[in-house]
């Protein structure tokens, strides 16, 4: 079942490669939408049949390279399934959004389908090398998307920076995986076996180095301060759908790695260095928010809010490792909040990036100063953007609030000062989103001119509405009726907290 979900997009891509590039572009986009819909339906089926708290389910395991302890091992639990679902939803939204894409549609769709396989595969992988394979390939596919469909020469430079940075991270991760492999007796790369074995239970320098390598690898991808410098140019220069996937799915690969690998396999060391995660998280929260506040480029601003939002996740997983002065319930709340935040950020920021794509499509610039008073000309766009902005700043009623509230409540007893500082991050993001909404939509109408005449500035098209509104609708449903999501996450995060505390 999981293998079908993972490899269906890749199989579709292989078939599409055989179709002539001169075929109407609707063939390619249509196939992508259909595949995404099927995948989503399959994920929903898995969701309905998942037993919360039942550990890994829908497992499949086959020997791959038995001499070096590598197997093809997939499975889902309450931590990974929400992210699998997020991936399916977000790729579906991007497929619909891509209906208006006209440039080299065949390679565009095949690359996205490949990326879809890779992203889904990462979240179900239960073998370190399988995880690494998907982790690395996500970089390759995203590189080609940014370089090929981004904004010109700067996009290629940004894509190169993205590739080099995240590749360095992925290789640091590989070194950490090798250290884990060598520490376990018998040697294995299997995540489930490694969790059970807890090979580095004693701590020490070796364990610290292992966590350092894994942590740096994941931190680059997340990204946290000080490894975030690849993110703003990559986001700014990528096409809208690329940014949405980059922010919505690829960043989650880093944070997911913490809850899937770093915390359960290295519990002692994680507890030892949890304070580092808390500090890095808070610094990311504040730095991301403050730098975002200073941006005049809308897309860059949203990119920096990603650093801010991922900082909350790191704060949450760090707090889950601090035992002193906390009870299990608080740590569990922090972990659940962190996973919820991954989903919430994926949905909301995905929607925001698609919306900036709409803005660029109409005005050919991300400079906020070039726009004013758009609410009068494009009321639907303004309304949807405002909803997304409010959702992103953590207004109650949206998914972001549920997530951040849990993180703060769970972290307060573990790290009161850090949590108090992090809460100010919410204030800053609230300010900057309100400022952005005010600059773009209120005041006298101003639209960047094309040479000669003002650009026609159309409101959201039907396909754009169909892509963006469902993302915000899901974010709202999670915000109002979060139980369906929390019922899946909570048992898994309880299990994780127990693993970390052992």
């Amino acid at each position: 079942m999981l293998s079908l979900i993972v490899f269906l997009p890749a199989a579709a891509a292989a078939v599409l490669l055989l179709v002539s590039g001169t075929a109407p572009r609707r063939v390619f986009i249509g196939a992508w939408i259909a595949v995404s819909a099927i995948d989503l339906a399959l994920v929903v089926a898995v969701w309905l049949r998942l037993v919360p708290g039942g550990g890994f389910q829908f497992e499949q395991r086959a020997d791959w390279m038995p001499t070096v302890g590598i197997s093809y091992h997939v499975g889902v639990d309450g931590l990974s399934l929400p992210l699998v679902a997020l991936t399916a939803v977000l790729f579906g939204a991007c497929a619909v959004f891509a209906l208006r894409e006209t440039r080299r549609v065949k390679p565009y769709v095949t690359l996205f389908l490949g990326l879809q396989t890779v992203s889904l595969g990462l979240f179900v992988a239960l073998d370190l090398i399988l995880f690494f394979l998907f982790f690395d390939l996500s970089i390759v596919f995203m590189y080609f998307l940014i370089a090929g469909w981004g904004h010109g020469e700067r996009a290629r430079a940004a894509a190169l920076k993205f590739f080099l940075y995240t590749f360095l991270g992925s290789l640091a991760l590989l070194l950490g995986f090798i250290l884990l492999y060598l520490a376990a007796r018998p040697h294995t790369f299997d995540i489930v076996d490694l969790i059970a074995a807890d090979p580095l239970a004693g701590g020490g320098v070796y364990a610290a180095l292992t966590l350092f390598a894994v942590g740096v690898g994941l931190a680059v991808k997340t990204p946290t301060v000080p490894f975030h410098t690849w993110l703003p140019p990559a986001h700014t220069e990528a096409p809208a759908t690329g940014s949405a996937i980059l922010a919505g799915v690829l960043l989650k690969m880093g944070t997911y790695g913490f809850v899937r690998i770093a915390m359960p396999i290295l519990p002692d060391t994680w507890r030892q260095f949890a304070l580092v995660a808390v500090v890095v998280g808070v610094v990311s929260v504040l730095y991301g928010a403050l730098v975002a506040l200073a941006q005049t480029n809308l897309k860059r601003m949203i990119a920096y809010t990603s650093v801010n939002h991922m900082g909350y996740v790191i704060l949450g997983v760090g707090a889950a490792g601090i035992l002193a002065g906390t009870d299990e319930q608080a740590r569990q709340l922090a972990t659940t909040g962190a996973v919820t935040q991954m989903v919430a950020h994926g949905l909301i920021t995905g929607a925001l990036f698609l919306l900036t794509g709409v803005l660029y499509d109409r005005g050919h610039t991300y400079d906020m100063a070039a726009y004013s008073g758009l609410a009068a000309r494009t009321p639907v766009f303004a309304a949807v953007f405002a909803v997304a902005a409010f959702a992103s700043l953590g207004l109650p009623g949206f998914a972001g609030f549920i997530a951040e509230f849990q993180i703060f409540t769970g972290s307060l007893s573990a790290a009161p000062v850090a949590t108090a500082l992090a809460v100010t991050g919410i204030l800053i993001t609230a300010g900057l989103f309100l400022l952005a909404v005010q600059r773009l939509f209120l005041g006298p109408l101003r639209i960047p001119d094309a040479p000669g005449s003002p650009r026609p500035f159309a409101d959201l098209h039907r396909s754009e509405i169909a892509a963006i509104v469902p993302l915000l609708a899901v974010a709202t449903v999670i915000g109002v009726l979060p139980r369906f999501l929390l019922d899946v996450i909570e048992p898994a995060s309880r299990a994780l907290v127990e693993l970390v505390a052992r």
């Binding site: 791959w64 590598i70 080299r104 390939l137 590189y143 370089a147 290789l171 070194l175 060598l182």
Partner: protein
């Protein structure tokens, strides 16, 4: 040589080697009589010999390891793997060179020189005696000097000259080293040599070892024996460059592995540290020099120097990590197929010499561009290609063997290498507006392109199927 070992002079143990030799000799005679348009028969014969050699290797690999001709030639997993990889590489080289050499005045010479050089390389991998090692060194070198000058162009002649001179210089060093080791170790056979060296003066033994390694480093094109690599690779036609940067490495690294593991006691001479240092320097220098190259063949030349660095890691941990031998052999197999694939792409576009010439390639030759991307990403070590599994096992062996710092150096170098491989990939995918005039991207023929597709596919399949191959490469 003892009386008992006289019994093992069984030519049947050397069928793959004899097939190569026979193919070369018969091919040379045949070529002398055939008209130019029928010289393809020689190529066919060579391919048949290589295929038969592969079959013989597979059959031999099912038998337990042995030592043939006294103690001079070992027939074990290392030799079997060397044979198999070299023979596959010969087949690929025969295929990718069809466009450039078919119907050429010296087509037969090309094929025969390739076969003889490959024979020398296999002997390097199996040599278990310093004298045979040096003889194999000569046999693996001389045909390739001639091959470098095969097209008689100005650059090719210069390349052959440079290749020959560095080979002669380092070959003499190797011979001197052999003499020194024999002098202090009182034997040229690896087993007794090890016993002799445990009581020998360390300084003299170290000098002898370094001199022998110098010759082998020349063969594999590793620092400091790498000076010929850029000029030969850039100055010769792509098929020749593909051969001289791929095939000698296979046997040369096998020879280093066997020599150090079997003949040199690590507690007397700290060769692991020496080789680790060479590995670090080789990968770093190769990478740094590759950074701003504009010629694709020169870029690939420096890339091969850095790849030798990664391969040397496995040699450095020989005997200290269980994965050392499978890692070395698997990496060699992956490297050979991936590197040949990259050169096959170059051979398929003979007019495109610089990185800029590849502009717009994805539009004109989408399949070839895909093969190029697979091969270059493969050389970086992106999963699931073969070199990724090679790097994974090599890094694991390095950490296990106590050279974690070397694994870190290799990781940093791998990231750095991404930069120059992407400098090649990026122009190939430039959009239509800025594409190169199609003349530069004119096809050199179908054979090279088909070889490139096959190599790219094989690089991925070998990586995915690594689980089946790796167990075969462990020492018996």
């Amino acid at each position: 040589m003892t009386g008992a070992s006289m019994m093992n002079e069984n030519p049947g143990a050397l069928i793959p080697e004899l097939l190569l030799l026979g193919g070369a000799v018969v091919g040379l005679l045949l070529g002398a009589w055939l008209p130019r348009c029928r010289q393809w028969l020689v190529r066919l014969l060579a391919a048949a010999a290589a295929l038969a050699g592969l079959a013989a290797t597979a059959a031999a690999a099912t038998r337990p390891g042995e030592v043939a001709f006294g103690t001079s030639y070992a027939i074990d997993t290392l030799t079997h793997a060397t044979r198999a990889i070299v023979l596959v590489a010969v087949l690929v080289a025969l295929a990718l060179s069809v466009d450039a050499t078919a119907g050429h005045r010296r087509e037969t010479e090309f094929v025969v020189l390739l076969q003889l050089g490959a024979l020398g390389t296999i002997l390097l991998g199996g040599a278990n005696d310093l004298l045979l090692l040096f003889a194999a060194f000569l046999l693996a070198s001389v045909p390739f000097y001639a091959l470098a000058g095969w097209d008689k162009s100005t650059l090719g002649t210069e390349a052959a000259m440079k290749y020959y001179l560095s080979g002669a210089f380092l070959g003499v060093a190797m011979l001197t080293g052999t003499a020194v080791l024999y002098g202090v170790g009182r034997s040229t056979a690896y087993g007794p040599l090890r016993e002799g060296l445990t009581v020998a003066p360390v300084a003299a033994a170290a000098v002898g070892l370094v001199a022998v390694l110098a010759g082998l480093l020349f063969k594999v094109g590793g620092v400091p024996g790498h000076f010929w690599v850029p000029d030969v690779t850039d100055g010769t036609p792509a098929p020749v460059a593909a051969i001289v940067t791929t095939i000698p490495k296979i046997g040369g690294l096998g020879a280093m592995y066997r020599l150090l593991l079997v003949a040199i006691p690590a507690d007397t001479i700290d060769w692991p540290l020496l080789v680790a240092g060479l590995a670090a320097v080789s990968m770093t220098l190769g990478n740094l020099a590759a950074f701003f190259q504009t010629s694709v063949q020169r870029l690939l030349a420096y890339s091969t120097i850095s790849q030798v660095g990664y391969l040397l890691i496995a040699v450095a941990v020989a005997g200290r990590a269980g994965l050392a031998q499978p890692a070395l052999l698997f990496y060699l197999a992956g490297y050979a197929i991936t590197n040949l694939g990259a050169f096959a792409v170059v051979a398929a576009l003979p007019s495109a010499r610089t990185l800029e010439d590849y502009r717009g390639m994805a539009r004109h030759r989408p399949a070839l561009a895909t093969a190029l991307v697979v091969c270059l990403l493969g050389l970086i070590g992106t999963p699931p290609t073969a070199v990724f599994v090679g790097k994974l096992t090599v890094f694991t062996a390095a950490v296990e063997g106590g050279f974690a710092w070397l694994a870190v150096v290799a990781v940093v170098n791998t990231v750095a290498s991404v930069f120059y491989y992407l400098r090649w990939i990026a122009p190939a995918f430039r959009s239509a507006a800025e594409q190169a005039p199609p003349a530069v991207l004119e096809s050199g023929g179908a054979a090279a392109a088909v070889s490139a597709y096959a190599c790219a596919a094989a690089a991925v399949l070998l990586g995915v199927g690594a689980g089946a191959v790796l167990p075969l490469l462990s020492p018996a």
